[in-house]
């Protein structure tokens, strides 16, 4: 195979001299998907922007060569570079909503690319636009051409972006986190589309991602980046089977999955080093438990292993191997990691839950937001964000609420805390109904239930110091008699969440994302709650940090007997942490049961689709089919303003029957712990009965 793109010793640096991308070299063969895998801030997006020569102000290319089809594009004048961008090399971005111009129709935007790179105009361009949209799997193409971006959903917008990128018939497509902003079912659709397009056109893809699952699905070659450097490079199967670099090994170990549910995850301590804070040695050395003196003193070179796998680590340095240190066998090191963390936690401490012992009981909760229209602001309809949700959490248990974005799961969390006024239903917390309580009475109940938010960058007031943040809740709810007692409690809390007591007098911006999430957890714990509502607490964090936070949550549950309502779209995390699962679709719960039941044997077609859309990576390092038939969902979730008649899921359901279009299915009790809202179950049960 010929190399389409060849990058040699690329260095991209800030104007102050700090290298963001530090000496990177790789080749991409024709028709190959090359994945650049790394955590946030490791320089992978900057690598892509360097290739496109679209670097932001204050960042410049310092050295290196980039050959695209044997042409050094770094020396080209800007004029010729414009021809290459979009022509031979196209890029799609993470946020499809932000990469389309909101005041131009989709057709005009694609036609613009066609006119520039293919010199196509008028009717010919329009025909080609329609063809491209069809190619990316959009239906009703003629209407879509005249649609504005706001009329399209996120998945459709990303398809349009891909169509636009394909318009110039590029040889290389750079996809920067193309599915990060999308739901799992839509992500599966887009990845499938990328794969198909690649097969048809034979283009190469440079895929930039932090998600091992995405890599497992479509990459051929994988390069792992850490702090501006590529630390390991190998074909996908080989990398997944034998990760060589300690960082890659730990990245795999940090992934939560069902088999690890009993014990702590092998989290990587610390966080990705800040720009410019790297010393002379190996950049991973401070977080590496196999590091020795040499790692801190000397930057490891690029070593090619006998199996052609490239790695930047002293462990594989041939001069070093025989004399000073035996490189641990990969399997041995993994076993070692596993054993070192095992036994710290056991699964047997959960209190037996009985039906009378529920901490939180929610009956038929509804949250409808009115839609106003006209001068008189009359109510013309309702957004039924939550439409009849019932759930119950026993003390010391974790209930996960799972669903795609927009299904109303966050609104449930807020309605429980009475941050959003429920329209109907009851929320009984520790025996008291919270709905309709006055502000004073509610304050008494507040201490029992607290929330941890998704974005640790938005959930801490930047103008308050850590101690003030932690103290606020205690002040309001009069916890602790005087300020010395509160200060003591703050020290305790910081210990509990694993932060130094000296961090008390610092401001949130001085902390990394994971540390900030720890502060947020400490803030919630400050008032001694018995239930924590965790709203996607790890989705804004890197994989290695996510494992730390999940471990922390699990430890806290065991030490303090906390109950969690865990709101998430990440099924792997849910599988690791939860005891019971509720699957939500369009404001209603479609299936509930214990983790084992729902994850291993999903009954509802939506649950099945959701689970099969998540790429599973098992121990052997390849994609495992997870024992469930793969259900690819078409289309997207309808708007909660106007839910479909009958079962809400029937327009996307592969098993839809006539009865599904008529009435919403009642709950079918499959077992004591299990309920499914689906006519398939009803008929099944009828047959048995």
């Amino acid at each position: 195979m010929n190399n389409l793109l060849s990058v040699q010793a690329l260095v991209t640096a800030l104007n102050s001299g700090t290298a963001i991308v530090d000496d990177i070299s790789f080749d991409i063969a024709e028709g190959e998907t090359f994945a650049l895998l790394g955590e946030s801030g490791c320089g992978k997006s900057m690598t892509a922007l360097s290739l496109m020569r679209l670097l932001p102000d204050g960042v410049h290319l310092k050295q290196g060569e980039v050959h695209l089809a044997n042409e050094n594009i770094l020396t080209l004048p800007e004029r010729d570079m414009r021809r290459i961008r979009g022509g031979r090399m196209a890029m799609i971005f993470q946020e499809p909503g932000l990469s389309l111009n909101p005041v131009m129709t989709v057709g005009t935007q694609i036609a613009e690319a066609l006119a520039l790179h293919q010199d196509m105009h008028g009717a010919m361009a329009e025909a080609r636009c329609a063809e491209l949209l069809e190619q990316v799997g959009l239906s009703d193409v003629q209407r879509r051409l005249r649609a504005y971006p706001f009329q399209l959903s996120g998945g459709m917008k990303q398809r349009v972006m891909i169509a636009m990128a394909l318009a110039g018939q590029p040889k290389l497509l750079i996809a920067d986190e193309p599915t990060t902003a999308l739901d799992v079912t839509i992500q599966a659709q887009v990845l499938q589309l990328l794969r198909n397009t690649q097969q048809q056109s034979g283009m190469s893809i440079l895929l930039i991602t932090h998600d091992l699952g995405v890599v497992a699905q479509i990459a051929h070659q994988v390069a792992v980046m850490y702090a501006g450097q590529i630390v390991e490079q190998a074909p996908r199967a080989q990398l997944f089977a034998h990760p060589a670099h300690p960082y890659t090994q730990k990245l795999f170990a940090a992934l939560p999955h069902a088999s690890s549910a009993g014990h702590a995850l092998a989290a990587i301590s610390g966080s990705v080093p800040a720009l410019g804070s790297t010393g002379v040695g190996c950049r991973f050395a401070p977080r590496c438990d196999q590091a020795w003196a040499r790692c801190h003193a000397e930057m490891p070179g690029w070593t090619i292993l006998p199996n052609k796998q490239g790695v930047r680590c002293h462990l594989y340095d041939t001069n070093e191997v025989s004399t000073t240190r035996q490189p641990p066998g990969i399997s041995a090191s993994q076993a070692e990691q596993g054993s070192s963390h095992k036994g710290t936690m056991s699964d047997g401490v959960h209190p037996q839950h009985s039906s009378t012992n529920y901490l939180l009981q929610v009956e038929n909760l509804r949250v409808h937001f009115p839609i106003y229209k006209g001068i008189l602001q009359r109510t013309v309809g309702y957004v039924k964000a939550v439409d009849g949700v019932s759930l119950a959490i026993a003390a010391g248990r974790t209930l996960a609420l799972v669903g795609e974005s927009g299904c109303g799961k966050t609104t449930v969390g807020k309605a429980l805390l009475q941050l959003v006024q429920p329209t109907a239903g009851s929320v009984r917390f520790a025996g008291n109904d919270l709905v309709g309580l006055g502000a004073q009475q509610l304050r008494v109940q507040r201490a029992g239930m607290q929330m941890i938010f998704q974005d640790p960058y938005a959930s801490l007031n930047p103008k308050m110091r850590v101690a003030e943040i932690l103290q606020e809740g205690m002040d309001v709810l009069s916890i602790g008699k005087n300020s010395t007692e509160r200060q003591q409690r703050i020290d305790e809390l910081l210990d509990q969440v694993g932060l130094a007591q000296t961090s008390k007098w610092r401001y949130p911006h001085e902390f990394s994302g994971g540390q900030r999430q720890r502060i947020a957890i400490a803030r919630a714990l400050a008032v001694n709650p018995s239930l924590l509502i965790c709203d996607e607490p790890t989705s804004a964090l890197d994989v290695s940090v996510q494992a730390q936070i999940l471990n922390l949550l699990k430890t806290l549950q065991q030490e303090l007997g906390l109950s969690y309502l865990f709101i998430s779209h990440n099924l792997a995390v849910v599988e690791y942490l939860a005891h019971e699962v509720c699957v939500m679709y369009l404001g209603r719960i479609v299936e509930r049961g214990t983790v084992a039941e729902v994850m291993r044997a999903p009954r509802h077609p939506y649950t099945r689709a959701l689970i099969s859309a998540v790429p599973h990576i098992d121990g052997s390092g390849t994609l495992s089919p997870c024992g469930i038939e793969t259900v690819r969902l078409e289309g997207e979730m309808p708007s909660p303003t106007n839910p479909p008649q009958g079962c809400y899921f029937h327009p996307r359901c592969p098993h839809a029957m006539n009865v599904c279009r008529a009435d919403y299915p009642e709950a079918t009790h499959v077992s004591d712990t299990r309920q499914v809202h689906c006519y398939l179950e009803t008929t099944e049960k009828a047959k048995q009965g």
Binding site: L417, L419, A439, E472, G473, R523
Partner: protein, 462 residues
């Protein structure tokens, strides 16, 4: 001598005290200090601050008012003059008292208009008469004038330069030595200090030359009734500053409270506040201000017994102008703050506070106010220059300050007639424009630097 505290004086000193207290507070908190430290590293910011502080110094001196005791006593009781003068008047008494008959050009020794004069020989001659004060010491005007002007300018400049050097040396000894820097010379390699040094020396030289010339000439000429234009322009500074700052202070509570309340509470509170500011901003502001000022003027005219002196009356008129301007111009900032609060209230840290049951007033003061302060600060400094200009426009229209109050607006208003004369009298207008330009430019440049320093997106550059 009897000190007189006019309303605006009281407010100015209150404001000064607040600012000093605020600065004291900020010194204690490193996160509050940080943006100001960034301002302090900017040459542009420090130079414009230096120039601004010169204006403020003139304004403050001009705010120390008093009445002089008259020499004759009435039944043993001291009688005070009806005229209220300020410390600045006392310092600039030379400028104030040396009034000519009418117009004279800058640096002139003759009046601008011809007059009939009787020569010692008894003939009637029509010519420009000599000025009473400007260049009165010259014997042979044709021969000596230019030489004298140059000589006085150079001597003054040298004296100023010397004073400047002494001043810098004094500052260095007072401040830098205290910190324990035992350097033989102040370190002047970093740019803001260097720029400050150069600016101080240049300004000292310039002021020295002007002061020395002003002792014997009218540097910016005289106006219709022979008053020194330089004096008028310097007196106008206080009016400009009062209007700029007090008006901003009047707008602030309205904008801050209403804007944040509208954004935070939404619902009917938001509706009412929005209606109020939409109505206010849809009335042409000059008309609204003119109507309010005229009403206020009538009230003042009807109650002469309220005021002891004419200065007090003029001062109340100035203050009420500030109030009226303030009451009509809070809408812009209010709208801005409402928008920002709408954004902030959805942030998760506000929701976290709500889930603790923190009360709304406390959320507003603890969480929202500190996070909109940067906008308030920037808007205040930007408004300041706009208001100085607004006063000029209103005085020009005739609804501004009392005619006895010197302001840039009244100067410009007077210049309206002078521009129509032949030959043209240009110096009043030029002086007003020159002073306003420097004041507003310095304020704007300073605001720019402050805004950059508070912008979190720019904070990583250094």
């Amino acid at each position: 001598m009897m000190p007189v505290v006019l309303w605006t004086d009281a407010m100015i000193f209150l404001l000064l005290a607040t600012i000093l207290a605020g600065a004291w507070h900020i010194r204690k908190w490193p996160h509050l200090m940080l943006p100001w430290q960034r301002v302090a590293t900017s040459s542009m910011g420090m130079v414009s601050l230096l120039i601004l502080s010169l204006f403020i110094m003139v304004g403050l001196l001009d705010s120390l008012h008093y009445r002089i005791a008259l020499p004759d006593k009435n039944n043993g009781q001291t009688v005070y003059s009806a005229e209220v003068v300020s410390a600045f008047d006392a310092l600039a008494s030379g400028l104030k008292n040396r009034t000519e008959k009418t117009y004279s050009a800058p640096m002139a020794v003759y009046l601008y208009a011809k007059e009939s004069m009787e020569t010692p020989g008894g003939e009637i001659l029509r010519d420009h008469p000599r000025l009473r004060f400007g260049g009165a010491h010259l014997q042979n005007i044709e021969r000596d004038w230019l030489g004298d002007v140059v000589q006085k300018a150079v001597y003054g400049a040298l004296a100023g330069l010397l004073l400047g050097v002494l001043l810098i040396a004094a500052v260095w000894i007072l401040f830098l030595r205290q910190r324990g820097d035992h350097l033989p010379l102040p370190k002047i390699t970093d740019s803001p200090r260097k720029a400050l040094l150069i600016t101080t020396l240049l300004l000292a030289t310039f002021f020295g030359a002007v002061a020395n010339l002003a002792a014997s000439y009218h540097v910016l000429g005289t106006d219709k009734v022979g008053q020194d234009v330089l004096y008028l322009a310097l007196k106008s500074i206080r009016t400009g500053l009062v209007i700029g700052t007090i008006t901003t202070l009047v707008t602030l509570p309205f904008a801050l409270l209403l804007g944040v309340a509208a954004g935070y509470f939404r619902g009917w509170v938001d509706d009412i506040i929005q209606y109020i500011y939409t109505v206010l901003s849809s009335i042409p502001s000059v008309l609204l201000i003119a109507a309010a000022v005229l009403m206020m003027q009538v009230t003042i005219e009807m109650h002469p017994e309220w005021f002891e002196t004419s200065a007090a009356r003029a001062d109340v008129r100035l203050l009420s102008l500030c109030l009226i301007l303030g009451l009509t111009s809070w809408t812009g900032l209010c709208r801005l703050l409402r928008g920002e609060t709408l954004k902030l209230r959805e942030l998760e840290y506000i929701q976290a506070a709500q889930s603790f049951g923190v009360s709304s007033p406390r959320i507003i003061t603890q969480h929202i106010m500190p996070n909109v302060m940067h906008i308030v600060l920037i808007a205040m400094v930007m408004d300041f220059s706009g208001l100085v200009l607004a006063e000029a426009v209103l005085s020009y229209v005739g609804v501004g300050v009392d005619p006895s109050t010197m302001s840039f607006g009244t100067l410009i208003n007077a210049a309206r007639l002078e521009m129509g004369r032949e030959p043209i009298v240009w110096w009043t207008l030029a002086a007003a424009f020159g002073f306003m330009l420097v004041l507003v430019l310095a304020a704007n440049l300073f605001a720019d630097v402050v805004r950059d320093a508070f912008d979190p997106r720019l904070s990583h550059k250094n």
